[in-house]
Subunit: 108 residues, 2 copies
């Protein structure tokens, strides 16, 4: 499933926002999403599965709970795809600034 297919769904975007703040158990995510979107626990679990299988989230087990965390790799792919359009809104940058802006600079 392509990154944009995953991000297309507003529920999945909201879950990623939640996970970007801090890691959450599946039940915590479900509680928020059920309230905000009026969907069931099963539906949230299916969205978590999509996020897992598409590489947007990782899970670790904590007793009976599953703790979800963001895996940013596919988001970084999206960011890279946007690269070619940035010149439409970013002011012209000199070479050094461009390196910094892209986060490619080697740091000590």
């Amino acid at each position: 499933m392509h990154a944009f297919d995953v991000l297309r769904d507003p529920v999945r975007r909201r879950i990623l926002e939640l996970l970007s703040e801090e890691d959450h158990a599946a039940g915590e995510v479900a509680a928020v999403i059920e309230r905000e979107f009026s969907i069931t626990q099963a539906a949230v679990s299916q969205h978590l599965k999509v996020l897992r299988e598409s590489g947007f989230a990782t899970v670790r087990i904590d007793g009976a709970r599953r703790i979800y965390a963001v895996d940013a790799d596919p988001l970084q792919d999206v960011d890279a795809w946007l690269e070619r359009f940035r010149r439409f809104w970013e002011p012209k940058l000199d070479a050094l600034e461009t390196e910094i802006a892209r986060g490619r600079r080697k740091r000590p």
Copy 2:
């Protein structure tokens, strides 16, 4: 139609890539897409309509031809949404670097 709904389709993404290089007449876009994706002119025209109506492209008329160009506003929205995830892959930046990286610095 939300930006991610638009970007979900690979044909539309490819059209935007073409338009990012330079403006193109609808027929030029259609020629490339028909070849690369084996779909009809009608299908390409429908995708161009989606791009127009969702604000990703603008059109100007040149005789019987319609010249399409990128409008980056919705792409910038996507870029802004990604903001909260950048800390997952960007090295820590000091304040000035961060401003530069975000392109917010006032320039002379």
